[in-house]
Symmetry: C2
Subunit: 340 residues, 2 copies
């Protein structure tokens, strides 16, 4: 068992810097495309056998130091009684956005084992196969709420912010339901065998700090408090585009803070040196020629040194257009260049 | 003549905080919609009479302390010999993206007076009418280049970054042409009567700081150096989503730094206190109930105090869905609450 990743999460010394990539099980891999070509995205998410297969692929191919459960952050939202669909090229769509009290009241808080048994089964299957730690995950309540309120992806998040600003009590009622659902979901993942948990706040960066502090952070804190009572797995919190939120994210209660590529990791380590950090290569930097890519990785490793710990990752998900060979170059470079 | 805005740009004391909004001449105004309904967007941009009319509208209606020339940042790109089109709901489209040396070589650096006389004519017409200062503007070279290379708007800017990373000399040749074009264009605007110039780097925030420093900032510095030799109008530089770039943007050479809403303006003033700052209310905060909106404006004014100067603005363009009455509430609140 290679537990380098878990030790880095806990701030312990490691022989080298562990590395995994967000969306490492995904469309850039021909092996993934082959599986995906036979089923819809949601069918894939609902099949423990196929999820297990695609989760293992990048670990087997590139030697990543952690696996992340293949799923989607919106799966538990579907379980809250919402009709979810994925349209090619358009992303997730909720046919009936949640924009009034009636819609909020209609949401159920599901029992994760009953409503999402396929996720827990995937975790159990993966634990039998894996020689590296398995990361479970969820979306953060604010990020999940944006999809429910907007009815899908958004650019300016007008409906979400309107609900915050004009109906803060309704917004809070919605967020509390999502928070309870997410909390139970992550606890179930830990029980099933997830060895670390990452909370993705993909849209945190669209909020002014004062709004993040009031309308997003408290729900994350609540989930992490709940988790701490039942499990000691490391918790990673990734507030995307969160450079101006970083002092606030320190108070989320996580062990590790994920960083997007916009921040110099040296600056981040200076500001949150009491946390391990995870990140933060620009995903498009994987398109650099080999020598330049290796030089950039070396610089990033050097800049991240001196903090509580570093898990190498991209600053966002790996792009579907990435040549797989470039992922191999990056993983090998992290392993080679970080050895003392 | 109300020159409060110009004095604030120069860091001089003013009786109150001047205010204007990005996209203040725009779709949220029924008066604009009426003009726009009769012509295409590009026809509007090409008509000095109509541009003058829509530029004046928000100043007359709300009492903004500055007017900004109605135009589009891509107008000079059209003049570089590129076929530009605006598709409803899809934004700007360049039918033939600039992705190879031949396409770079085919770009011409236009004489702005010859190729964009309608812009200079608009400026002259506006100066006759206005009782507040007129702001001219351009896009920043990196931001303009993204549209040319991607062929329109983008999410991940893959083609742009690929050119940077894989063909840096071609990228530099392209950027130098855009820089010369932009430099001449802004100089012509100043000659025609623009009393301040804003450079919009709308996409700067998609770059890691090290890439911004190499692939975006030098071209802005070059434009501002050129401008300083021929005009003393204040220069505003707005690097959108630029919280992690702010120490670098300080070296751009501008008088005023524009701020998006993601940064607490107090933090910005602390970091760039030698510059006047412009911003930075979340455009969606205009949807707050009156009392809450006024409280937020008061807080922002207080947070911005103590620096070299503050021009109140939104942190991004006003949204088309904004009720005009809310703009009035905000402008009045800035004027009332900032008086000593």
């Amino acid at each position: 068992m290679n537990d380098t990743f878990l030790r880095a999460c806990r701030g312990e010394k490691t022989e080298y810097t562990p590395v995994w990539f967000m969306r490492q099980a995904g469309r850039y891999l021909p092996e993934y495309q082959k599986v995906r070509s036979k089923v819809t995205f949601l069918e894939l998410c609902h099949s423990p056998e196929l999820c297990t297969e695609v989760t293992l692929q990048p670990v087997d191919i590139f030697g990543f130091d952690a696996a992340i459960l293949f799923s989607d952050i919106l799966i538990p939202m579907e379980a809250m009684n919402l009709e979810l669909d994925f349209h090619e090229g358009k992303g997730p769509v909720f046919a009936r956005p949640v924009r009034d009290q009636q819609a909020v009241d209609a949401l159920v808080v599901p029992d994760p084992e009953e409503s999402m048994p396929f996720v827990m089964e995937t975790i159990r299957l993966l634990r039998r196969e894996l020689k590296v730690p398995l990361i479970g995950f969820s979306g953060a309540p604010f990020t999940l709420a944006t999809y429910l309120i907007e009815g899908g992806s958004s650019k300016v998040f007008l409906e979400t912010k309107k609900m915050m600003f004009q109906a803060p009590e309704m917004y809070d009622a919605l967020l509390r339901k999502i928070t309870t659902c997410t909390s139970l979901y992550l606890q179930a993942q830990a029980r099933a065998g997830a060895q670390a948990l990452q909370i993705f706040d993909s849209w945190a960066g669209v909020l002014a700090p004062c709004d993040y502090e009031r309308f997003a952070l408290p729900y994350v804190q609540s989930i992490i408090r709940d988790l701490r009572e039942v499990t000691d797995v490391p918790i990673i919190y990734f507030a995307n585009n969160g450079a101006t939120l970083i002092e606030l994210t320190r108070t989320a209660g996580a062990d590790v803070l994920g960083l997007d590529w916009r921040i110099n990791i040296k600056d981040a380590v200076r500001r949150v040196g009491d946390h391990a950090v995870q990140g933060n290569l620009d995903p498009v930097a994987l398109f650099l020629p080999k020598t330049d890519l290796e030089a950039r990785i070396k610089k990033l490793l050097d800049d991240a040194a001196g903090g509580r710990g570093h898990i190498f990752n991209l600053g966002h998900g790996i792009l579907p257009q990435t040549p797989p060979e470039q992922a191999r170059i990056a993983v090998d470079a992290v392993h080679r260049l970080s050895r003392g």
